[in-house]
C-alpha cells in the first residue's frame, strides 16, 4: 500500500517536472505566446506586468494576475528628464515581487510599445534574460477572447537588489554626436515615420511639436517601428523577416546600433527586437530628436527643408 502511494507520488512528481521543463522550454526566448501565458497564469514563478500607454486600461480589465506599472510616473524620474533612479526602480521591483529567479512577462497596448520600453528600463537595472514580452500584447490577448480580470492582487515583495545601470544599453547625446563626427562606428537607426524622418513634419499627428527643427540625425537610416509588427494581431514578424527588414538599410549586427525616435519611447520597441530577438548590440537613445534636434549648433539632415514647421 505504502509502496503504491509512494510510486504514485513519484509518478506525479515526474509528470510535474516534465511539465515544468516543458514550460521552461517554451519561454526560453525573449517572447512568450498568449497560449503559454494562459497555461502558466497560476505558476507562482511567473509575474505578469502590464505597461500600457492609455491610462485606466489596466484597471478596467487586465490579464488575470497582472500588476500595473504606469510608465509616466513609475519608470521615469518625474522631475528630471531621466529614467527612474536606481532606488526608485528597486523599490518598485520589490513591491511587485520581481527578481532574477522569476519569469517576468511584460505586455501592454499599442503593440507593446511601452511594454518594450519597460523591458529596456528593466534591462538597464539588471533584469534581462528572465524578462519576456507577451507576443502580440493586449491586442492579441483580446482578439483571442481570452479572459480579463479586475481583481486586485498583492504580490509577495521580493528582496531584489538593483544592479549598476548598464550604460551600454543607453546612448547619450555624446555617443550620437560621435557617430555624426565619424568617431564611432555605431549606426543610428531612426524609427519615426518617413515624413518625420524626411523633415516634412516635426511630430506625428496628435503629438506636440517638441523640437524646433525638422529632419534627422546625419547618417541615420529609417525603418518605421510598426513595420516590424504583423498588423493583424500585433505579433512580431519572424526573426528571418526582421533580419531582412533591417539588413535592407544596412543594420545587420556587424556594428553596434543606436535606436532613436522623437522622445525615445517608440524606439525602445525596435531596441527590443534588435537586442533581444536578433541579439545585436544596441543602445537606445532616449534623448532622441527632441534632444538632438534642439541642441544648438549640431548638424542635422533636413531633406524636406522645413523650417519652423513651414517652408
Amino acid at each position: 500500500m505504502f509502496a503504491l502511494s509512494l510510486l504514485r507520488r513519484s509518478a506525479i512528481t515526474l509528470a510535474a517536472a516534465l511539465l515544468l521543463g516543458g514550460a521552461a522550454l517554451a519561454n526560453s526566448g525573449p517572447l512568450v505566446t498568449t497560449d503559454w501565458l494562459e497555461k502558466n497564469l497560476s505558476d507562482p514563478k511567473v509575474r505578469i506586468v502590464e505597461v500600457s500607454v492609455e491610462p485606466g486600461l489596466y484597471e478596467r480589465g487586465h490579464i488575470p494576475g497582472a500588476q500595473n506599472v504606469v510608465w509616466h510616473t513609475d519608470l521615469v524620474d518625474t522631475v528630471e528628464r531621466d529614467i527612474a533612479k536606481p532606488e526608485k526602480f528597486q523599490a518598485l521591483a520589490r513591491k511587485l515581487g520581481l527578481d532574477k529567479d522569476v519569469t517576468i512577462v511584460l505586455y501592454g497596448d499599442s503593440n507593446n510599445w511601452f511594454a518594450a520600453w519597460g523591458a529596456w528600463v528593466f534591462d538597464i537595472y539588471g533584469l534581462r534574460d528572465n524578462v519576456k514580452l507577451l507576443d502580440g500584447g493586449r491586442k492579441k490577448w483580446e482578439l483571442e477572447k481570452r479572459p480579463v480580470s479586475t481583481n486586485p492582487l498583492t504580490a509577495k515583495a521580493s528582496a531584489f537588489t538593483v544592479a549598476e545601470p548598464n550604460r551600454k544599453l543607453r546612448a547619450r547625446l555624446a555617443d550620437v554626436v560621435a557617430t555624426v563626427e565619424k568617431k564611432s562606428e555605431a549606426r543610428v537607426l531612426d524609427i519615426r515615420s518617413a515624413d518625420e524622418f524626411s523633415g516634412k513634419i516635426i511630430a506625428p499627428a496628435g503629438f506636440q511639436e517638441l523640437a524646433l527643427r525638422a529632419g534627422h540625425i546625419p547618417g541615420s537610416v529609417n525603418v518605421p517601428w510598426a513595420q516590424a509588427v504583423n498588423q493583424a494581431d500585433g505579433t512580431l514578424k519572424s526573426p528571418e523577416e526582421l533580419k531582412k527588414l533591417y539588413a535592407n538599410v544596412g543594420i545587420d549586427g556587424s556594428k553596434p546600433v543606436i535606436t532613436t525616435c522623437r522622445i525615445g519611447e517608440r524606439s525602445s520597441h525596435t531596441w527590443f527586437i534588435l537586442s533581444r530577438v536578433l541579439g545585436y548590440q544596441v543602445a537606445n537613445y532616449d534623448g532622441s530628436w527632441t534632444e538632438y534636434g534642439n541642441t544648438v549648433g549640431l548638424p542635422i539632415s533636413n531633406p524636406a527643408g522645413t523650417v519652423w514647421g513651414g517652408k
Binding site: P55, G56, E59, R60, V70, T73, T150, N151, P152, T154
Partner: protein, 419 residues
C-alpha cells in the same frame, strides 16, 4: 396634463394638486392603445434597433453600445422621477418639501458606496500620489466657486440644469432648445476665459480626494454620515405632504405616474456606478462641449492653446474626430428614452415658445455653459460623479450652485421675473 409650468420647470405642487383633484387624469391606464403609447412603442423598437446596430457595427462596439443603453436608462429614469436639480431645490425653497432633495441624497449615498467598491479593486491603496482612473476629481479653486455660482444662476434663469433640459427636450419643452443653444455660446465664452482663470487660480489649486486623507473606509463613513445628517435635517425642517393613494395598477405606477424621488435617486446612483465601472463616469456635457469647441475652432473663436484644460478629470471637451462618441450616444439615448417615457405617460406636450421663454433659455443657457467649462462638468459630471468619487470639488460645486440658484431666484422674483 402637462406637469411643466410656464418657466419650463416642473412644479411638484401643481402636479400634486392636479393628481389629487382629478386622480383619474393621471392614475388611470389609458383606455386602449392611445396615439402616444403607439408612438412610444414604435420609438422603443427603433431604439432597440439602434442598440443592436451599434453593437454590430460600432467601433469600439462595446463602449458605444453600452453608452447608448446607459443613456436611455438614465433618460427614462430622470423623466419618470423628475430628477431635475432646480425643481427639487425650488420645492424645498418654496414649500419645504424635502422629497426631491432626499432623492439626491439617496443618489449620492448609492454613488459613494458603489464607487468605493470599485476603487478598492482598481486602486487598492489610496494613500499614494495616484488617483483612480478617469474619476471626476477636480481642482478646488476660486474658478470652481465662480463656475458653481454661474451654473446655479443659469439653472434659475433657464428653469433647470443641463441634464434636465435634455430630458425636457424629450417632453417637447419650449425652453430647452434655447437653453441648449445658449449653452453652446456659454461653452465658447468659457473656452475664451479659460486661460486667464487657469493662470490666475486653477493652475496652483489643490485636487483634494477624500480617500487619500481618510482612507476608503474613513471617506465612505464620513460622506455617509454627512448625507445622513442632511437627510435628518431635511426630515426635521421639512414638511412631508399627505401621501397620495398609490396606484393599484403596476403599469400605471411605472409608465403613467411620476416615480417617487427616492426611487429615482436610487436608480440614478446605480446607473452612475455602472457607467463608471464599464465606460466612464456619468456626465452629460462632454459631447456638447466638444462639439462647441469644434464649432468655435472652425470660426476661429478659440485660443490657440487651452492651457492644462485637457489634463483635468471631468467632462473632457477634447475634440474627437469620429462621428459617434460614447458621450454623444449617451445623450442621444437620454433624449430618445425621455421622449418615449413622456409619450407613454401622456406628458409629451410640445408648445410654441414665447419670446420670454426663448430669452430666458438663451441667457440661462449661456451661464450654464460657462459654468460647465470652468467647473469641468455640470450637476451630473461634477456634482454627482464628483461627490460619488470622493472629490471635494463635487461638494464645493454643489454649495456654490445652491447659493447661485437661490440668490438668482430671490433677486429675480423681487424684480418681478416669472422664476
Amino acid at each position: 396634463m402637462s406637469l411643466s409650468d410656464e418657466s419650463g420647470a416642473l412644479d411638484y405642487q401643481r402636479a400634486r394638486e392636479t393628481t389629487m383633484a382629478a386622480p383619474a387624469a393621471v392614475a388611470e391606464r389609458a383606455s386602449g392603445l392611445s396615439r402616444g403609447i403607439l408612438a412610444a412603442l414604435g420609438l422603443t423598437a427603433l431604439l432597440a434597433l439602434a442598440i443592436i446596430g451599434i453593437g454590430r457595427h460600432g467601433d469600439p462596439a462595446p463602449q458605444l453600445q453600452l453608452s447608448l443603453i446607459l443613456g436611455a436608462t438614465f433618460g427614462f429614469v430622470i423623466q419618470r422621477s423628475r430628477f431635475c436639480f432646480l425643481c427639487i431645490w425650488r420645492d424645498w425653497l418654496d414649500r419645504r418639501d424635502p422629497r426631491g432633495l432626499l432623492g439626491i441624497v439617496t443618489a449620492l449615498a448609492v454613488g459613494i458606496t458603489g464607487y468605493t467598491l470599485i476603487f478598492g479593486a482598481w486602486l487598492p491603496d489610496p494613500s499614494g500620489t495616484r488617483l483612480p482612473p478617469t474619476a471626476h476629481i477636480g481642482p478646488v479653486s476660486l474658478a470652481l466657486v465662480l463656475a458653481g455660482l454661474a451654473f446655479g444662476a443659469g439653472m434659475a434663469l433657464s428653469g433647470s440644469c443641463l441634464s434636465a433640459h435634455l430630458y425636457r427636450l424629450g417632453e417637447g419643452s419650449p425652453t430647452a432648445p434655447f437653453a441648449l443653444l445658449g449653452a453652446v455660446g456659454g461653452f465658447i465664452l468659457g473656452f475664451q476665459s479659460w486661460n486667464g482663470l487657469y493662470l490666475w487660480t486653477i493652475a496652483g489649486a489643490p485636487v483634494p480626494w477624500l480617500p487619500r486623507h481618510l482612507g476608503y473606509g474613513g471617506a465612505l463613513a464620513t460622506s455617509l454620515a454627512v448625507l445622513a445628517a442632511l437627510a435628518w435635517l431635511l426630515l426635521r425642517k421639512g414638511s412631508l405632504p399627505a401621501r397620495p393613494e398609490p396606484p393599484r395598477d403596476p403599469l400605471v405606477a411605472v409608465f403613467r405616474q411620476r416615480w417617487p424621488a427616492w426611487l429615482g435617486g436610487l436608480l440614478v446612483g446605480l446607473i452612475g456606478v455602472a457607467a463608471y465601472l464599464r465606460v466612464s463616469p456619468l456626465g452629460v456635457t462632454a459631447e456638447i462641449g466638444s462639439r462647441s469647441r469644434q464649432l468655435a475652432g472652425a470660426f476661429e473663436l478659440l485660443p490657440s492653446r487651452l492651457e492644462g484644460l485637457d489634463s483635468f478629470r471631468g467632462c473632457a471637451t477634447v475634440i474627437r474626430d469620429t462621428v459617434l462618441t460614447p458621450n454623444g450616444l449617451f445623450i442621444a439615448g437620454l433624449v430618445a428614452a425621455a421622449l418615449i417615457a413622456a409619450l407613454a405617460a401622456g406628458e409629451f406636450k410640445p408648445r410654441r415658445p414665447t419670446g420670454g421663454q426663448a430669452l430666458r433659455g438663451l441667457s440661462g443657457g449661456l451661464l450654464l455653459g460657462w459654468g460647465t467649462v470652468l467647473g469641468l462638468g455640470c450637476t451630473v459630471g461634477t456634482l454627482l460623479s464628483g461627490i460619488s468619487a470622493g472629490a471635494l470639488s463635487g461638494w464645493v460645486f454643489a454649495a456654490a450652485l445652491g447659493i447661485g440658484a437661490t440668490a438668482t431666484l430671490k433677486l429675480g422674483r423681487w424684480a418681478g421675473w416669472p422664476l
